[in-house]
């Protein structure tokens, strides 16, 4: 019981720290887009390093398609770091655009609503940056943005991943 409590509290540390960070950024930057950009950039920095940690902990096999990669992000990475498993949908026939649908989002556990005057704030934009940075470290360029956000009144929270360059099997290397 003690260990379980501790595990839960550990996520609290990250979630609360993230909240304090966003609050500080809202003080520093007037425009929502500046805060969003900052969070994305920060996430990118984290993602480029997190991917090493991820590859060291998981035993992911070599991927042969974008949809495999997206599945791994949703089912392995999200589960490992945030304890949730978003569902994956593919949005186009050429299978380069995907969505992660987050039913639960631990990052917003303590957030009731966006602060006044901050309606375009993408509170979880760090996540987009993390995914983008991590993918880039394995030589994949992608656009990652929030398509829907529960905090903004949408029904679900949806992260869109658009892979930009065609995956060449021979050229694809997993970062060591």
């Amino acid at each position: 019981m003690g260990t379980m409590l501790r595990l839960r509290h550990n996520k609290d540390l990250f979630v609360l720290t993230y909240g304090a960070l966003v609050a500080q950024l809202c003080k520093d930057y007037e425009k929502d887009e500046d805060v969003n950009k900052y969070l994305d950039k920060m996430g990118y920095g984290i993602g480029t390093r997190l991917v090493e940690d991820f590859l060291a902990r998981s035993c992911v096999r070599r991927c042969h398609s974008y949809s495999e990669i997206t599945d791994i992000i949703a089912q392995v990475a999200f589960k490992m770091y945030l304890g949730i498993t978003p569902s994956v949908t593919c949005n186009n026939s050429s299978r380069t655009e995907f969505s992660l649908i987050l039913d639960k989002n631990p990052l917003v556990e303590f957030v009731e609503e966006l602060p006044a005057g901050r309606s375009s704030l993408c509170y979880c934009n760090l996540l987009c940056g993390i995914i983008r940075g991590a993918l880039e470290m394995v030589h994949l360029a992608a656009d990652v943005t929030f398509l829907q956000d529960r905090l903004k009144g949408d029904r679900v929270t949806e992260i869109g991943i658009t892979f930009l360059r065609k995956l060449d099997e021979k050229k694809y290397r997993r970062k060591k």
């Binding site: 501790r6 595990l7 509290h9 550990n10 996520k11 609290d12 540390l13 990250f14 609360l16 720290t17 993230y18 909240g19 304090a20 960070l21 609050a23 500080q24 520093d28 900052y38 920060m42 920095g45 984290i46 390093r49 997190l50 940690d53 902990r57 490992m80 770091y81 303590f110 760090l126």
Partner: protein, 189 residues
């Protein structure tokens, strides 16, 4: 634990982010640079304060009432520190007059940095958040304090001095002292 990696990376990004934003302006003199550094440390400390308040609320929801100040400090050293940093404080000393020194011989936020004296001066940036964390936690438990931290050598032998505010003057508290081998950070408020 995977959670820890995420927090460590976030913390590091926060520290570099705060200092990068400060660098945007022209740094004209050493005095100005010192001022900027102080401002960054305060920012980080304040964020830690917020988090510490929130954390202690969640941790102590179901715990019994604390008997006294020492009891609270022991809680910080054992349960709180373990939950946040996966280990207990290695050494707790007190003069029973309001000063507590917590010693962590392998401080998690610094273990990833290289050993060596040349990084000592930067260590204070990575301690500010934790100082705030402790101060915030104590604050929500009803203790007003000043928390400073010291690193005697990397990777990590920080001493955290806790000084609940008392009307008596504390001769050990020397604001703004910087030694060459020790990095002492006075939290500026």
């Amino acid at each position: 634990m995977a959670d820890e990696a995420l927090f460590l990376l976030l913390h590091n990004e926060m520290v570099s982010g705060v200092y990068k934003s400060a660098e945007q302006g022209e740094v004209v003199s050493a005095a100005k640079a010192l001022e900027e550094n102080g401002r960054c440390i305060t920012k980080l400390e304040n964020m830690g304060f917020r988090v510490g308040q929130g954390l202690i609320e969640r941790f102590t929801k179901d715990t019994a009432r604390f008997k006294d100040e020492l009891d609270i400090m022991k809680f910080i050293c054992k349960d709180f520190w373990t939950t946040v940093f996966k280990k207990q404080i290695d050494n707790l000393r007190t003069n029973h007059q309001g000063i507590y020194v917590l010693q962590d011989n392998k401080f998690r936020l610094l273990t990833q940095m290289s050993a060596g004296k040349q990084y000592l001066e930067h260590a204070s940036k990575y301690l500010a958040f934790t100082c705030g964390l402790i101060r915030g936690g104590l604050s929500n438990l009803g203790i007003k304090s000043i928390v400073t931290a010291e690193v005697s050598s990397m990777p990590a032998y920080p001493d955290t001095g806790l000084h609940p505010k008392t009307p008596r003057s504390q001769p050990e508290l020397k604001p703004r002292v910087r030694c060459s081998t020790n990095c002492a950070t006075q939290v500026l408020r």
